[in-house]
């Protein structure tokens, strides 16, 4: 009904994002496939290297999932079952690691453990679990809060002890969210790059994404890169399929009985202890980075901050120049993503589902694959964009688009289309009526898309490594390079850059959160 009455100027606007996606997403993927498809590429699959890396990465990802669940489930239980003061703060705190740039997290762990835990599988798994606590807590907690607590009470009255109640009643009821959360953590850890580059040992922690980056940027071996990309895509798709099959098709729970007050000394201590552990786990790496940025072997110092603009201490370019570059790229990404976000919003409202499906494609394709496709498609011929500086913002905007869709679609679906008709019956011309009904949400989606994409761009490592010139690195690349250098000065400069990156990313995400939670969106 709404589509028929849309203002003439907006009826065909969905074509715009469709063309953008065809041009900057589908065409680069086809171009990559055509360039790399060869017998050499097929031969890569008979070579054991990619399979061995896939197996190693799978093992690492399984361990990361197990540890994330072990830490995340108790926190979810406390945060989504009990009502207590400070609950909101703890929930916000456990979300922080998820939004930090991966190289910053890596630096936090390196700084925290120093020489006690050497680079390798343990450190990689710990860092992955740290980043993904939020995924477990949010997804499992959301389902937990809809469970009817009277089921547990009934089981207890039938003689089940607390452990049996948990394993026989609660855990099966949480199955769908646990499966979903575990799949997300598996995919994240399986295709990890920033963490394994900084914290890995180069052998037991390799991922296909690392093979892909090395094959492209060092060895210039496109067939090997494409083989790794295909295998990664297959594994990711397989995990999605298995996850969908394992989830029971249950009707959505409607019972939301609210959170319990903490009753009894035992419950109170378990809540306090869990919150304390969560706080220590989340804050330690961050505090460690902050400390590293203001300390030296001689004590507390602001030397590393004051030397930020100089190049002498690192010999790999000025950190402040990298910061300026990253901010410029983030701004470009934000503008592009805002335009794309707005166009997707119109596609959602016009019920053009296939445009939304196109926007979700980057979910299944790694950042490096996407960057490689864009590089191949737009580095020669009539559409040579290399000199324009647009390749990184385009890639980052595409990487951010699925997140934009996830954030924006619920707000857009919440808008009652009848508001548009009400505005029309009140005499507003179609364009004004459209703006009255949808303008605020539309503007909010564009702003949120811009902010989210800027945050993604600031922390993105893989595609930026591939697409940026050696002499003009972004901040995450600069951090990774500094960490590969020996000496106190390089490490401390990396810590200073990480603190700045953390601050900007968190500020951006707080602004987006503020926009998204505005009541005018409902």
């Amino acid at each position: 009904m709404l589509a028929q009455h849309l203002p003439r100027g907006l009826k065909w606007l969905w074509v715009f994002p469709a063309i953008l996606f065809l041009m900057f997403l589908i065409y680069p993927i086809i171009k990559l496939a055509v360039t790399a498809w060869s017998t050499e590429m097929l031969n890569e699959f008979t070579d054991s290297t990619v399979w061995r890396v896939a197996l190693l990465a799978s093992g690492q990802a399984v361990l990361s999932v197990a540890l994330s669940l072990l830490i995340g489930i108790p926190i979810a239980r406390v945060l989504f079952n009990y009502h207590f003061r400070g609950r909101g703060i703890i929930l916000a705190l456990v979300t922080v690691p998820f939004v930090l740039p991966t190289v910053v997290v890596a630096l936090g762990f390196r700084s925290l453990f120093g020489d006690v835990v050497p680079n390798g599988l343990l450190l990689v798994v710990l860092a992955h679990a740290y980043i993904n606590i939020a995924v477990i807590v949010r997804l499992v907690g959301a389902q937990w809060s809809t469970l009817d607590p009277r089921m547990e009470v009934t089981a207890a009255t039938l003689g089940a002890n607390p452990f049996r109640v948990f394993t026989s009643i609660t855990l099966p009821a949480l199955r769908n969210s646990i499966v979903l959360a575990a799949s997300v953590v598996f995919i994240f850890s399986f295709s990890s790059l920033g963490i394994v580059v900084v914290l890995g040992d180069g052998s037991s922690t390799r991922t296909l994404e690392q093979v892909l980056l090395r094959s492209t940027s060092v060895l210039l071996d496109f067939p090997a890169a494409f083989a790794a990309a295909i295998l990664q895509l297959v594994v990711v798709s397989l995990v999605f399929v298995i996850s969908a099959r394992m989830s029971r098709n249950e009707p959505r729970a409607k019972v939301v009985l609210g959170r319990k007050q903490i009753s009894g000394r035992k419950s109170m201590w378990s809540v306090r202890l869990t919150c304390l552990v969560a706080m220590i786990v989340v804050i330690s790496p961050i505090a460690s980075i902050l400390w590293a940025s203001i300390s030296s072997s001689g004590g507390i110092t602001l030397q590393w901050w004051s030397e930020l603009a100089s190049t002498s201490n690192t010999r790999i370019g000025s950190p402040i120049a990298a910061l300026g570059r990253s901010l410029g790229l983030a701004l470009g990404t934000a503008v592009l993503a805002a335009v794309l976000g707005g166009a997707i919003a119109i596609a959602v409202m016009s019920k053009k589902g296939f445009v939304v499906s196109l926007a979700l494609i980057p979910l299944g394709i790694s950042a490096v694959t996407l960057g490689l496709g864009i590089l191949l498609a737009f580095s020669r011929g009539p559409l040579d964009l290399r000199g324009t500086g647009a390749l990184i913002p385009i890639t980052h905007a595409l990487i951010a688009v699925p997140i934009v869709v996830a954030v924006a679609t619920p707000s857009l679906r919440n808008v009652d289309p009848r508001r548009y008709f009400v505005a029309l019956t009140l005499g507003a011309a179609p364009m004004r009526a459209w703006w009255t009904a949808f303008g605020t949400v539309f503007g909010g989606v564009m702003l949120a898309a811009g902010g989210l994409a800027a945050a993604v761009s600031l922390g993105e490592f893989g595609a930026a490594t591939l697409l940026s010139r050696t002499d003009s690195p972004t901040v995450p690349i600069q951090i990774a390079r500094l960490l590969s250098k020996p000496g106190e000065s390089a490490f401390a400069t990396a810590a200073v850059l990480s603190v700045i990156l953390m601050f900007i990313t968190m500020t951006l995400l707080l602004i987006v959160d503020k926009i998204a939670s505005r009541k005018v969106f409902t």
């Binding site: 029309l424 019956t425 507003a428």
Partner: protein
């Protein structure tokens, strides 16, 4: 008083198939025609068709003797209130009520004066500074009614506007509607599945 009569001749409504027999009725100034029927019988579709949201399958709709065929929704000056108030959340209560006046080219200050009068009329002047989402269901319903009549519509269409409210609030609001329509002389069509509402409001009833 708008003084116009809404006339419906052999009107068939629906999407692909007709939901109703051919309808013939007219509503004059100050009259309330209550359409009574069960869910799914086409009551809401009738209102959507009169407002111009749905095209009729056949027949004609005349307002003051002129056909509304081809007249877009925003040029019909027909007020429509849905079951939910659907207030514009980013606008103040005054700007919600004054929306139609601004659409018709009235100045901001003129729209504010009229909106303030209406806010007073619906008994909500003391909450003028509140946001739309801070209102109770009854308060939001009153604002929606004030918004619909602010620009003196030629016809007022009410699609079970207060059915989600508690009975006491609903009866008070329906009494407001009856007062208003009689005072302003607006031809009104009210649809409901509740026969007691029909008895309370109707000048005439229509069923099929």
């Amino acid at each position: 008083m708008t003084g116009l009569i809404l006339q419906v001749n052999d009107l068939m409504i629906g999407y692909e198939e007709a939901l109703t027999p051919a309808l013939n009725f007219s509503v004059g100034p100050g009259e309330i025609l209550v359409v009574v029927g069960d869910s799914g019988c086409g009551k809401s579709t009738l209102l959507s068709t009169l407002a111009g949201v749905n095209p009729p399958l056949s027949g004609e709709i005349l307002l003051g003797g002129k056909s509304l065929s081809g007249v877009p929704i925003h040029k019909r000056n027909i007020g429509l209130v849905f079951q939910e108030p659907l207030l514009f959340p980013h606008l103040s209560l005054i700007d919600n009520i004054g929306y139609a006046l601004r659409s018709s080219g009235e100045s901001h200050s003129a729209a504010r004066i009229r909106a303030t009068e209406l806010l007073d009329w619906v008994g909500l002047s003391e909450i003028a500074g509140q946001k739309t989402w801070q209102l109770s269901g009854g308060q939001a319903g009153r604002i929606a009614l004030a918004r619909a009549i602010a620009a003196k519509p030629n016809v007022l269409l009410l699609d079970e506007p207060y059915s989600a409210l508690d009975p006491g609030t609903r009866l008070r609001l329906l009494a407001d509607v009856k007062n208003l329509v009689t005072r302003e002389g607006i031809p009104t069509i009210h649809v409901t599945h509740d026969r007691s509402e029909a008895e309370l409001l109707a000048t005439r009833t229509l069923t099929w």
